[in-house]
């Protein structure tokens, strides 16, 4: 066993209201720079939709992620030989238009325009060229199903849905959508790290954050191709690639990442997971149907004596093990099993898990032409959900519908149990049956409810101390400089000393 600690995340999609506060918080801190304007290390997509960059999930186009290669995995569009062959011409790079051309408005015109009969306007100008542009796309241009004939209908996850199933999704009575906030997954088997010819990308040993060394990056942009989530971006101004850094300066000082800290819906959870690094290769190369279970199996029980001993032997601090025991991610992913990885078929073993959304039951038009949105039971049930289970399975379980269904059943059981606990208007048998179908019990349902709805800041973000004081001692002898810096004089005082 080679136990390491990994900062992992859970996004609870049922709670996401699509306000983009996370994106703005991130943008204001990290990507409000020349060359980075088009980057959204955190973005929120509407699903169904094509996302950002357009159709990022379609690896036939972008050649990202790993593919199974016998008993191993190989990068689809990058790697040693493929990367070398394509070093000077990477054939699967997204262009700026696949993201969008960033723009601002010429606000100064509002103040400097000569007096006239018309109101002055602030024209949009490109942040790349500075010329006036015709704004045709943005990072969330298809928000709330806007422009759905162009965007939502081209959703890559529709590939397994029949044309009739797809068409029905766009009927007024059945129409539905949810949000999908995305940041870098800080994967256990990161394709970006595997693809970099310069060795500029690395996964931090202490917490698994994946970073790009800006001094070693040589702009080959293999990571842009290799990341199947398209979360590595090329900065055209600096000539280096950049990506989400999980706000590591904030993590090191005990603060939650900005996107999580600012989340209005409080959908985000962050905590430590302990995993066995020796098994990464085997897990990434498992059969597609086993991928989710295999990945969940790599995370270890932080209460297990053997795991704790092995973790300590590997240099993991006691405080980190304590954080792993309190980790909300461990609860969602391992204890309750209601959070799933996004697109596990990319085989990067992402460390960002999603609680799938419970979407409203469908309405119907009856024989008399009456639009009927009532359901027999309180929430209609998982089977009558508007969004086909196939669609959610394509997002979260590589096509395994049963896994998504089980999660949704448990979430429904929690709701029914809490209805029973707070209002008490449901027959006891119905509540019992829901808990049985959801494979849960009243105590677990209460725990899920508590962490979902009432969790405090410190419960949602269990950040292990970074122990920077120990890190710096590995690099230099701090005692040598003790007493040398700190309070002093710029000009020597006339008396004293």
């Amino acid at each position: 066993m080679n136990i390491r600690s990994q900062i992992s995340m859970v996004f609870h999609l049922d709670k996401c209201i699509g306000c983009h506060t996370c994106s703005i918080a991130c943008k204001n801190i990290w990507t409000d720079r020349r060359g980075a304007e088009y980057m959204w290390w955190n973005n929120v997509e509407t699903k169904p939709g094509t996302g950002y960059p357009t159709k990022w999930e379609d690896q036939d186009i972008y050649q990202g992620g790993w593919k199974k290669d016998g008993n191993s995995v190989s990068l689809r569009g990058a790697g040693k030989l493929k990367g070398l062959k394509n070093l000077f011409h990477n054939p699967a790079l997204p262009v700026l238009e696949d993201y969008y051309e960033p723009w601002t408005y010429k606000y100064s015109d509002l103040f400097t325009a000569p007096e006239g009969n018309d109101q002055p306007t602030a024209r949009p100008v490109s942040l790349v060229t500075g010329e006036p542009i015709d704004v045709k796309a943005g990072p969330n241009w298809d928000d709330d199903l806007g422009g759905s004939p162009d965007y939502a209908r081209q959703d890559v996850n529709f590939k397994d849905l029949s044309p009739a199933e797809q068409e029905s999704l766009f009927q007024l009575e059945r129409m539905t959508f949810h949000y999908l906030p995305r940041i870098c997954n800080h994967c256990l088997n990161p394709a970006c790290v595997g693809s970099c010819p310069s060795g500029a990308l690395y996964k931090r040993g202490e917490d698994g954050v994946v970073l790009i060394n800006q001094e070693r990056c040589r702009a080959w942009r293999m990571c842009v191709t290799a990341c199947p989530y398209k979360k590595s971006y090329y900065n055209w101004h600096t000539g280096k690639s950049e990506k989400c850094i999980l706000c590591y300066p904030r993590l090191e000082s005990g603060q939650a990442p900005a996107c999580m800290h600012s989340c209005v819906g409080r959908i985000r959870y962050l905590g430590v997971m302990l995993y066995d690094a020796d098994r990464i290769h085997e897990v990434a190369a498992s059969e597609e149907k086993d991928l989710v279970d295999a990945q969940l199996g790599i995370y270890l029980d932080p209460f297990d004596e053997n795991v704790i001993a092995a973790a300590k032997a590997n240099g993991i601090a006691d405080s980190t093990i304590r954080a792993a025991q309190l980790s909300p991610v461990y609860k969602f992913v391992k204890q309750w099993g209601i959070a799933l990885p996004l697109h596990p078929e990319f085989r990067t073993l992402p460390n960002l898990f999603y609680v799938p959304p419970m979407l409203p039951a469908m309405a119907s038009v009856d024989a008399d032409g009456v639009y009927d949105s009532t359901t027999k039971s309180l929430w209609g049930g998982v089977e009558t959900a508007r969004l086909p289970m196939k669609y959610l399975a394509s997002l979260f379980t590589a096509g395994d519908e049963e896994k998504v269904r089980n999660v949704l059943r448990k979430l429904l059981a929690v709701k029914i149990h809490r209805r029973d606990a707070t209002v008490g208007d449901l027959p006891k048998e119905e509540v019992e049956e829901a808990l049985n179908i959801g494979r849960t019990n009243a105590a677990e349902a209460d725990a899920i409810f508590r962490l979902t709805s009432l969790a405090t800041f410190n419960e949602r973000f269990v950040i292990p101390p970074a122990h920077r004081e120990e890190s710096i001692e590995m690099m230099e002898a701090t005692a040598d400089t003790k007493g040398e810096t700190g309070f002093g004089f710029k000009m020597r005082p006339a008396r004293g000393l």
Partner: protein
Amino acid sequence: MKSIPSARLLPWPFLFPFILLQGPVQAQDGEALFRQNCAACHKMGKRFVGPDLTGVNERRDKAWLHKFIRSSQTLIKEGDPTAVALFNENNQLVMTDQPLDEGQIDQVLAYLATFSKPAEATASAAPAGPEKPIVYTADDRAAGHALFIGTRPLASGGAACISCHNVNGASAVPGGGLAKDLTDVHGRMGHAGIAGILGAPPFPAMAAAYARAPLTEAEMHQLSAYLEEAGKAQAGRKPRTALGTYALFGGGGLFVILAAIGLHWRKRLKGSVKQDILDRQLRSI
């Protein structure tokens, strides 16, 4: 100031005779300059590659001579009738521009003036008796060919002729286009002219190239033999220009490379994934 003591140490007494003999020394300078810059093409008392220069001071005026020596090509371009006539008389072979200053040209002309009467010609510049007939053997021609195309290196290690010169039929690939085509050079200049130019190249680039790598007499003879044969074999044919062949090879090569690139990366992403979406939108500006 530090140079003063060392100047005092100069052997002034020994230099004195040379200072007294300044006049003759100057004439000797003219002779040296002539040998260095002119003798490859000009001989006194007989026509060589260029015309005989005996009595040239009387034939032309001084200002014209200065201009012509400095840059005969400029005079020809300007349409000076004498210069153009000379150019045509001498197989349209241009005289190289001479990097001499006014004083040096005067020295050379002063030296030439000593030949105004053929009787006064010194032994060194006079034709040395009846010339031996030049005989080229088959071995000479083969050796010359090998030297020309570079399969046999020059004894001094200098660059092969083909680097800069073309001779039709010398090799499959045409020779360099930097310098003049030499296919009919033997017809124009003969053995003496070729040997003269090879011995003391009057062209700046060639002079620099062979300054430290002079050809041997045997090599000059062999090259001359080869050039005579090449000139005869190619007589009357149009000179093959390297430019066209290179353009053909270059263009063809480019096409092959582009085709290979296009084939290898035929599945590359071309344009934006959502170009159809962008195209569908109305323009507002």
